[in-house]
Subunit: 186 residues, 6 copies
C-alpha cells in the first residue's frame, strides 16, 4: 500500500463528522449529534459500563469496536429504521460489509478486524458494544427531551424494547434511562 493512500483513506471518513444522525433530524431535532459524535459517545459508554461487567471484558477493545462500528456510514450514511425496513433482508448488512471493506483496510488490518468482530456479534465485547450503541441513543433521547424536544416516543419505545439481559450494567442503565425519560415526559 503506498503511503499516499493514507490521507485518502482518512479523508473518506471525514463525512462521519459532517453527517447528522438521521433519525433525530427527521423528528425535528434542529442540531443533532453527528455520526462521529455518536460513535464517540458509544466509546465513552463502553468505558463507563465495561468495567462493571462480570466476568471482565477487554474494555479497550470494546472502545475500539465502538470507534469503528459505524465507519461504513461514511459511504452509506445513517439509514434510519424507516429506510432499512424497505431494503431486502440482509441488504443493509451486506452494504455495511462492502463499505467497511472499501474504507477500513486502507487504514489498517486492525481497523478491519475490529469492524468484523463487531459485525459478527460472536464475542462478548461485540455484543456489549452493540448494546452501548443502542444505549447511547437513550442517552441522547434523555438529553434532547430534557432540552425540550418532544415527539420522540418511537425512540423511547425502541429503548424500552432493547434486550440487555446479557450484561446487567447495561440493563441497569436502560432502566435509569427509561425512568428519566418517563419522568421528563410526565
Amino acid at each position: 500500500m503506498p503511503q499516499s493512500s493514507l490521507l485518502a483513506a482518512l479523508s473518506a471518513l471525514v463525512p462521519l463528522a459532517r453527517l447528522p444522525r438521521t433519525g433525530w433530524v427527521m423528528s425535528g431535532v434542529a442540531a443533532p449529534e453527528s455520526i462521529a459524535a455518536h460513535a464517540h459517545g458509544v466509546s465513552l459508554l463502553a468505558l463507563a459500563l465495561g468495567p462493571r461487567v462480570e466476568p471482565a471484558l477487554d474494555v479497550d477493545r470494546a472502545v475500539a469496536l465502538a470507534a469503528v462500528h459505524d465507519a461504513p456510514e461514511a459511504l452509506l450514511t445513517d439509514l434510519p429504521r424507516t429506510a432499512s425496513k424497505l431494503l431486502p433482508a440482509g441488504a443493509k448488512r451486506a452494504a455495511e460489509q462492502a463499505a467497511a471493506q472499501a474504507l477500513l483496510p486502507p487504514l489498517s488490518d486492525l481497523a478491519q478486524a475490529r469492524f468484523d468482530e463487531y459485525l459478527a456479534e460472536e464475542t462478548r465485547e461485540a455484543r456489549f458494544t452493540r448494546l452501548c450503541d443502542k444505549l447511547h441513543m437513550g442517552v441522547m433521547l434523555v438529553a434532547y427531551t430534557r432540552a425540550g424536544t418532544r415527539g420522540l416516543e418511537e425512540f423511547g419505545a425502541s429503548l424500552a424494547a432493547l434486550d440487555c439481559s446479557e450484561f446487567s450494567p447495561c440493563e441497569a442503565l436502560q432502566e435509569e434511562l427509561l425512568s428519566a425519560y418517563r419522568e421528563l415526559r410526565s
Copy 2:
C-alpha cells in the same frame, strides 16, 4: 380512508424539508438545500425548460412529477451514489416504490399516479423531469462553486456525463452549466 389520516400523511412528508441533500453534506457544503427545496428547484426547471421542448410537453404534469419524484426519501432519506452502489441491483428502486406506496396513496391516487409515471420513465414528461432532476444538481453545483465551495469535481463529472440528447433545451442548459462551472474553476 378516514379524513383523519390526511394530517398523518402530510406529516410523514415533513422530513423532506428537514433532510439535507446528502451528497453536498459529504463534500463539505455547510448548509445545502433540503430534499424539499431540491424538488422545488426541479419544478422550477420544468417550468423553465418545458415550454421550450418540441413537440410540446404537458408542462404542468411535469411540474407535478417533479413535486413527487423524491417523496420516497421522506422514509429512505437521500441516498448518495456511494450508498446506492453498495445495495443490490434494483434494491434502491424497489425501496422507492415501497416507500411511495406507503406515503402517497394516503395523499391521493393522483399523487401515486404521478410518482408511478415518473419512475416508469415511459412518458416524455417523465424522462424530461428526470433530466430536470439531474440538471438541478448542476444549477446548485454552479451556485455552490460561485459561493466559494471547492472539491465538487465529482458532481461536475456527473453533470458532464448526463445524456440530454432527447430534449435539446436540456442539452443547451447542460452546456451552459458546464461552461459556467469550468469558468468558475479556472
Copy 3:
C-alpha cells in the same frame, strides 16, 4: 432571449432554497423550512387536497401555481406579517408583481402566466392554491409544536381565522390541524 440568460434566471431563484421562512425564525424555531421547501409543501398539499375537491380542479395546474407562488421572494425575501403591515396598502403586492416580472419571464411565459393567475385569485385553482399556502403553515405549526417548539400562538390564531369555506377538503384539513394543535398544547 439569448440562451445564456437561462442560467442567470435560474440562479436568481436559488435564494429561495437559502432563505428561511422568516416568521418561524422570529419565533425561535432554530432550523425552519426554507421558502423553497415551503413552496414544495404547498405543491404536495395541492396534490393531496386537489383530487378531493368538487367539481374537479386542474390539479396539475394548481401544483404549478404552488411552485411559483412565492418566486418573488427570491428578491423580496419572506416578509413576515409584522413587516407587511408597516408598508403602504398594496405595496407588498405591487413589489411581488414587479419581482415576478423581473424573475419569471426569463424562465418562460408559462411561469409568468402561472404566477399571474395565482396573484389574480380569479380561478378556482388560484384560490385553492392560496388556501394550500396557508394550510401548509398549519402543517408546519403542528410539526414544530410536536417537536417541542412553544410560543407559536399567533400562528394558531391565524390558522383558526382562515376562511376555507369555498373548498370543503381544505376546511376538513383546517379542522384536523386545529384539533391536533390544540391537543398538543393541552
Copy 4:
C-alpha cells in the same frame, strides 16, 4: 407605562439576534452574522473611528446611535437592496419610522431619540454612524472573502461607491478595506 411592558418591549427586540443579515444569506454565506451582531459591529466601528474624527464627535452617543440604528428590523427584517428597490419611494423609510415608533418608546424616550437622530442624518454623529454601518459591511466582506466565500462582487462594488468624504478616518478605512478585498480576490 406600566413596568410590566418592559419585558414585552425587550422581547420584541429578540428577533434581532435570530435574524441573519439577508444579503449574505442570498449570496450563499452559510452562517452570516445576525442583525444584532451587525449592530454591535457598527458600535465597535464607532468606537474605533470616532476618536480619530476632527473636530471631535460625541463618540458615546454615536455608539448609542449604532445600537439602535437597525432596531426596526425586529419587525421589518433586514430587507436586502433587491427588496427595497421594489418598494415605493420612501416606503422603507416610513416603515422603519413606524416600526421604531412601535418598538422604542416602550424601551425609553432616549432610545427613540437616538433612533430619530440617526434617521434624520442632521447631526455629524448620525452621518458618521451611517458610514460606520456601511463600513461594517466592508469588514464582513473582507472576513467572508478571507474565509473562502466568493461571488460577493456586488458588495465590493457597493463599498467602492460609498462617499466617505465627510469623515477622513472613514475614508481611510474604506481604502484599506478595498485594498484588502482586492488583494484577496487577486
Copy 5:
C-alpha cells in the same frame, strides 16, 4: 500606529459575531445568540433601563461600556461558569485584561478606557452595565423558554441570585423576568 493596523484590529473582533454564547450550547439550545448579539442586547438594556435610574446615569457611556464589555472573548471565547470555576482565582479576570490590552488599544484609547471602566466596577455606569449583562441572560432565558427549550434551571437560579439592589429599575426587571420564567415553567 500605522493606519494599516485598523483593519487587523477590527478583524480580530469578528469572532465575536461567530462564537455562540457557550452556556446555551451546552444546555442544548440549537442556535443561541452570538457573543456580539449578546453585547448588543446589553446595549439595548442599558438604553431601556438607564433613563429610569436615579440619580441620572450617563446612559450613552453605559451603552459604550456594554459594547466593549465582552471584547476579550474574541480571544478568550465565552467561558461558561463550569470553566471559570476550574481556573485559579483571578485567572479569568487577568486573561480578560490581557486580551483587552491586545485588542482594544489598536481600536482607540477610548475603547480601552471604556473597557477598563467596565472591569473596575468603580463607577455607577460600570456597575449598572454589569447588571444589564446579567439581566440580558434573563431576557434570553425567557425567550428560549417561551420557544420551548427546557432544562435551563441553572440559568433561572443564577438570575434569582442576582443582587440588583443598587439600581431599582434593574430590580424591577429582574422580578418581571423571574415571574415570566416561572409562569412559563408552570
Copy 6:
C-alpha cells in the same frame, strides 16, 4: 457510587457532541466538527497509524486514550490557542485535571486512568495519541481547504511545526498532509 449517578455522569459529557471546535469557528468555518467528532477522528487515526508503529503499541489502549483525551472540555470547552496563551502557566493543564477528576471517576476508574495516562505523556501510547490529536487537526485542515475554506494559514503553520520524530508513521502522515495542503493552496 449509587447506580443512579451513571446517567448524570454520561449527561455531563453530552456537551462534547454540541460544542464546536472553537478554532475553526473563529476562522469562519461555518459548521466545523464537534469536540466529540474530533475525539472520534483521533481514535480512527490511532487505529490507522498505531499498527504501523514499531515496536508495537497497544493500539486499543491508544484508542481509549483518544476517546477520553478531551473529556475535560465538557466543562472547560475547547479553549483555542489564543485563550490558553492568556492563562497563567499550567492553568489550562490544572483545569483539565480538575475537570477530568469531576467527570471521569463517575464513569469508571478505567476512564480516569486512561485520561491520567494521556495527560502524563509518559507512555509511548500517550505520546502517540497526542500526536494523533494534532494530526487530526491536519486532516480537517485539508478537508476544509479542499471544500473551499481559506485563511487557515495558522493551522498550516502549527501542523508544520509539529515534532513527530518519535513515531515515523506520524511523520509520514504529517508530510502527506502538508503536501496536500500546499497543493490545494497553490
